[in-house]
Symmetry: C2
Subunit: 204 residues, 2 copies
């Protein structure tokens, strides 16, 4: 029996259903059908469990991004593939943004270094390579900085999820609706692509 | 003597110089020239001090945004004024993103409700009003959702600062350089405005 995997599956399901803060390690063990002592045995403390969850989920995202970008015929397809991969991962594991906040972005985040070395560097390489190619090929605007452009795409794609605790009640947005998430993804793709694609300067 | 204000000034300066997590309440009291007991007296716990810092800083940002947007002659000027106000606030109080993470966005954030009621609702009103006007006037693309467009601008403008702990070492970005911050602001303005401005469809 894969006890470690069962605990991760249980944590993922409970976090998705109830939110990270509302789920005890004891409840996770119960759902996994293992002794409560197995959680600290495999993961140390709660941060260790969070790090392992992020590691597994982001490993899949990274593979998905590489496939989506590698299989894209042009820059816009690569961007749309990237957004679809990211959106799919968050729909499946809606706790990713919350754990990113506490374990990567917040001071003292336990997964920050590992996130950078096993994930961020790799993804940044994949995406900035596409952007450089599109800029030098004249399809993205000349003069765009590939790294700042990646940061812009990151902000457009991820911020709606990081700021969900404020935005959902503020605007009454239906984050649990897959139709809304598709609309948000399409909006994001349009803003970004209109923002970077080269074109004749003919504003109305 | 304004003891409360002196403590807030001291905290703001120390947080800016050393980072939020590296500064003790005792060090703040010492710098403010007050007894250590004054900090809990005025602010309760550390979260209370953080909330008061955010309240003061964001009050200034909100006033600055209202002035910048109200004084702008068109949509692009309003967007540039908004970005300049936000960038100026973060340059002056570089701890804002870190406190936003822990006190607003993270689960259990103590300032979340107050942020929404005293700040987010007001700013959202100001900015979506401009966007609605620009869309109905045909200067921003038809079909843009004003609220999703605000979220996009927020992501473009704020994410580079929220993700600084990852991005700064990853790309070696000089966040302490005002020249870099100006370049980032100009990049952000361009991506967003190219992304929203209506134009003849003539991609190269």
């Amino acid at each position: 029996v894969d006890v470690r995997g069962a605990i991760l599956d249980a944590a993922s399901e409970l976090f998705a259903a109830r939110g990270v803060d509302a789920v005890s390690l004891r409840a996770i063990a119960r759902r996994a059908g293992v002794s409560p002592a197995m959680v600290p045995y495999y993961f140390g403390d709660r941060s260790g469990l969070h790090a392992a969850l992020l590691e597994r989920a982001l490993g899949r995202v990274r593979a998905g991004l590489a496939a989506a970008v590698g299989g894209a015929s042009d820059g816009p397809s690569a961007v749309r593939g990237l957004l679809r991969t990211l959106g799919g991962a968050i729909a499946e594991a809606p706790w990713i943004p919350s754990l990113m906040l506490t374990e990567v972005l917040a001071d003292g985040g336990h997964y920050r270094e590992r996130f950078r070395s096993t994930y961020a560097e790799h993804v940044a390489d994949i995406v900035t390579t596409v952007f450089r190619r599109e800029i030098s090929g004249g399809r993205f605007r000349a003069g765009l900085d590939p790294r700042l452009t990646l940061i812009s795409l990151l902000g457009l794609a991820v911020m709606p999820h990081l700021a969900r605790p404020v935005l959902e009640p503020l605007f009454g947005l239906p984050y649990d609706s897959s139709e809304f998430l598709r609309r948000l993804e399409e909006h994001t793709a349009q803003i970004f692509l209109e923002g970077v694609l080269a074109r004749e300067e003919t504003p109305r």
